[in-house]
Symmetry: C2
Subunit: 237 residues, 2 copies
């Protein structure tokens, strides 16, 4: 199999490494599209979301499938721009350039303009990972929203805790063993079963006491109230 | 040093293990307080929060210090009930009975009815852990609120993501490599510096698109809106 990878960023770099020894790889700078090998099975566009449309518009004629690697870009970006076969080849992981990754465990989400195209992209991803799934653009959007909830918002709760603890002369690092334990639990239990804390116990006295402690911190207080209510609704109605 | 530990639960069991070989330990069932050794340096009450007051009321006369191990119980629970010296000896960790723990890394928070008492409790905790701090009841409350934000609410966001992904035929387990990465980052960066996602980038188009995707999920939509606003306020005002 022959694969072009357009891009020099973190995802492109890791894909090149992951495919090494398994397929013939041609990595091309997005500003030198004239250097693309036109005779390949798959051309992967692995550039920033905002640059995908421009690369698509400038693609020379290519045989094979064209696919992008973005979680938040719909497959429709190719419509009318790429003749015939195109798709999405999306690895769900944060990539830092110098970090070693177990590629075999990275989930890949595949979409194709037709069944055969999807199957070929699926097969290519299966050379790298044992966790490859079909997912349409709607499902990728759902994955993106879930990542915002599960990673971005989680980190923000930690940032708010850091500030709040520092104001009391306390150190957020002391919480890290607890965070690790919270994280470890969801590796074996579903999060709904792993829930602890005052709200899941229905302990409204503690909730009220915490809310009154946060009286002059409007932002924290709102977040505390809305998340406690959400837990109470999940377990107590 | 001689220490009584009242309780048979997870915290009591781990404290007995942690003190093993370092002090003389007497573990006593809370229903057999008549078996307490009256001649000890410290008596630790390590029972459920709601049972502490009852144990305190039934304590026989003891020499030495009496302390409880609860994060959310103020030191004032001893006032007028225990003569002279009392305090709090609070290890910040979730304890499961059969799990091995590195006791040396568990943060201990100490409070005492007077300076000398606090110092003695501090010294006892230092036999177990290299991370012992003084903290008054106000600071312990702050720690408790921060734990709710950083662990309980975080787990709830994962539970909401799990449900939302399952509705779309997707698997929460696919997110676990991303969660681990999010967790690993705050071991070396402060969470405020580790923040990623649409809100910290100020990408209001993505935020709006996600909110409209969540239109008929009032609970998720509110949480998404309030946490995105909080991130926008932290970085963009």
């Amino acid at each position: 199999m022959k694969i072009n990878i357009i891009g020099r960023g973190n995802v492109a770099t890791h894909l090149v490494k992951a495919f090494q020894g398994k397929v013939e790889i041609f990595q091309v700078n997005p500003h030198s599209l004239e250097n693309l090998n036109p005779e390949v099975d798959i051309t992967l566009i692995s550039v920033s979301d905002s640059a995908i449309a421009e690369v698509v518009a400038k693609l020379p004629p290519l045989s094979g499938i064209v696919a992008h690697t973005s979680g938040s870009t719909p497959i429709s970006i190719f419509e009318g721009k790429v003749k015939e076969r195109y798709g999405v080849f999306y690895p769900l992981q944060t990539f830092s350039k110098n970090k070693k990754l177990e590629y075999n465990k990275i989930p890949f989400y595949i979409e194709g303009s037709d069944k055969e195209t999807a199957q070929k992209l699926f097969n290519a991803a299966s050379l790298i990972s044992s966790n490859v799934r079909m997912a349409d653009s709607e499902q990728r959007k759902r994955l993106h929203i879930a990542s915002v909830l599960s990673c971005n918002f989680v980190n923000h709760l930690w940032a708010l805790s850091d500030t709040y603890l520092a104001e009391g002369g306390l150190d957020f690092n002391d919480l890290i063993p607890l965070l690790s334990e919270t994280m470890n639990k969801v590796k074996t239990l579903r999060p709904k079963e792993a829930q602890t804390g005052p709200a899941v116990r229905g302990d409204r006295n503690i909730i009220e006491s915490h809310l009154s402690q946060l009286e002059n911190k409007q932002d924290l207080r709102n977040i505390y109230a809305i998340l406690s209510d959400s837990i109470l609704r999940m377990y107590w109605k």
